[in-house]
Amino acid sequence: MPENVLDLAFVAGLLTLVFRLATPLLLASVANLVPALAGVVDMSPEGTMTLGAFFGFLVVQRTGSLWLGVVAGGLAGLVCSLLSALMIVVLKIRHSVAGIGQNLLAAGLTFYFFRTIYGSAGGEIPHVPVFDRVYIPGLSDLPIVGVLFNQHALTYLAYAVVALLWLVIYKTKYGLILRTTGEEPRAVDTKGISVGLVQLIALVVAGVLYGIAGAFLPLVSTGIFVTGIVAGRGWIAVTLVVFGRFKPVPIAIGALFFGFLTALQLQIQALGVRFPYEILLALPFLATVVALVVRGRESQDAPAHLGLTYQRE
């Protein structure tokens, strides 16, 4: 190992990277918590993020407006979530199977649109402008914690979303309804609130956030879309909800941990350490399995009605 591993600049660079790489995971995993609390196992993030990434990229490439790209990603996510709701809430298809179908559909459509619009002949795929970092005056100069405040605008948005969702889930009437829907849907139903409607709203909120999380990927740092850009992040997001035992703060910490793993892998590669890089690439996926096994006893902490179909009697 080169001796500059413990260099302060290396550490600061690593930490800055951690928060950047964790952002899409942070958004998608905390988003995935929302339908989970309403009793819906939503396995669609991988595909939804892919579609969001593509439409985010397409709109920025056509309009030049980064924020329009983020909106487009969110809208793509919205459309996906409506299809999820149709399958899960209306037709009562088994949640996991519906989610897998959604993934394959979104991935297949994205691939087709991408090839149709940008060609398959290995031609030049355009680069789009990317978000600049926003340095928060004062805060970004602080040692160590400064890395929290030298990030991209979408990372700040992710912080805000996590805080807002935490507030709504634990401090408002709507959060209470959401959580009760997952624990005891009959209680919600007897209060005259539609279980299906709560689940629909939860899915839509999550879908929009997956789409934005997807749009983050091409619009920060690389400025290019490739198929497979999401690279398992959607599935890791689903795992993080189980790993974080259905609580937003542990989920966010889990997302940061995965950001750390990815950052470490990139930094080690950049240092030119001789080590089969495939092992490093496989690391987050192995870690996901370990995370699931270590903290994933399904019975604990999960909403009592998670994954079940509510039937009025």
């Binding site: 297949g108 991408f114 495939e278």
Partner: protein, 355 residues
């Protein structure tokens, strides 16, 4: 007399309605696919005619369609076996790759073995490797309750990276620019059929389909497997070991997927290389569900989807519509079949109201 209409769940869905839903889902999917073709400003008739001709229009086309269908038969059957036990094996992709890796290991280790020795060993090693890779999620599910869906998806990526490590590192043929192994010795190449690219893997696939049918419907293990899939709680009361069935179902599923991988390296490429699977595991899921989880129907569905993949190349040459249409079509077909199968579970009943 006045009526009101009530939507209610059927207790059982008649077979003809299920069949109609399957055919209907393919028709609806072709319709949605048509929207995609039109969106790229192409003559729809021309595109779909080319798709069909490229898939089934000539002897060569049909043979190549069967070539494409061969790995799909295996991954489709892998899905059927696991799904029947209420176990969603999204890991067929990784198990396929491990089967291919094991067969490559055998082929490279025995460069001078005769055909009669090396081919059975390739098959055995591939089945064992696929089953072993499938056992990881099965054991984690049984022991720790970890979601097999997530574990299998994650392990797919791990298998993929492991394969690229092998073909770029220890197994790389130094003479090649690309990341791939050397070509296997001729005795390790599978015999071909009808002097085409079609190989004995197709025959093995048909045998496997019959075998899966036999196991599921004519043996005690198959009965227990389906019982667990339909109602795990009741099965436990009947004294069936649900955990053991999960392990058996996943091993069998992994072995089938692994054998598919063996066929691709030994029958088609005769070497291991990166990017071996083109999403066969995922297509297998669509095929299994379109086939209503019937082993013999899976063969038919695999040939249809093999035709779709094969025909899409010709369609691209004739009309310029991207072959990615085949990928989009698979996703569409899966969602449509799920929706239609769910819809036919309901019926509308007319109830007379006296008032």
């Amino acid at each position: 007399m006045k009526y009101r209409y009530k939507l209610e769940r059927r207790k059982t869905v008649p077979l003809w309605i299920e069949l109609a839903a399957v055919v209907g889902s393919l028709v609806v999917s072709l319709g949605v696919g048509a929207v995609l073709v039109l969106q790229s400003h192409t003559d729809l008739g021309l595109a779909y005619t080319a798709l069909f001709q490229g898939a089934f229009g000539s002897r060569e086309a049909i043979l190549e369609t069967l070539v494409q269908a061969t790995p799909l038969i295996f991954t489709g059957l892998a899905m059927v076996v696991a799904y029947r036990a209420n176990y969603i094996n999204l890991g067929a992709e990784g198990q396929f790759l491990f089967g291919a890796i094991a067969a490559t290991g055998v082929s490279l280790a025995l460069p001078s073995a005769p055909r009669g020795v090396v081919i059975p060993l390739q098959i055995l090693a591939g089945c064992l490797a696929g089953a072993a890779w499938a056992l990881i999620p099965a054991v984690l599910k049984v022991r720790f309750g970890s979601s097999e869906i997530i574990v299998t998806v994650m392990l797919n990526s791990v298998a993929d990276y492991f394969l690229s490590y092998l073909v770029s590192g220890p197994w790389k043929n130094p003479a090649d620019y690309y990341n791939q192994t050397a070509i296997f010795a001729p005795a390790a190449h599978w015999p071909t059929l009808f002097s085409s690219r079609l190989h004995i893997g197709l025959v093995l696939g048909l045998v496997a389909a019959l075998l899966v049918y036999y196991i599921l419907w004519k043996t005690r293990i198959g009965y227990e497997l389906r019982a667990v899939g339909e109602n795990p709680v009741a099965s436990r009361y009947k004294g069936i070991s649900v955990n053991l069935i999960a392990i058996i179902a996943m091993s069998l599923s992994g072995a089938l997927a692994g054998l598919g991988g063996v066929g691709e390296v030994c029958g088609i490429h005769h070497r291991l290389r990166a990017g071996l699977s083109k999403g066969y595991g995922w297509t297998g899921l669509t095929i299994a569900l379109v086939a209503g989880l019937q082993p013999l129907g899976t063969v038919v569905a695999a040939i249809l989807f093999g035709g779709l993949i094969n025909g899409s190349s010709y369609m691209r040459i004739v009309t310029g519509v991207e072959t990615a249409l085949a990928d989009a079509f698979q996703g569409i077909a899966l969602v449509v079949v799920l929706v239609l199968m769910a819809l036919v579970r309901f019926r509308v009943r007319r109830i007379p109201t006296d008032a």
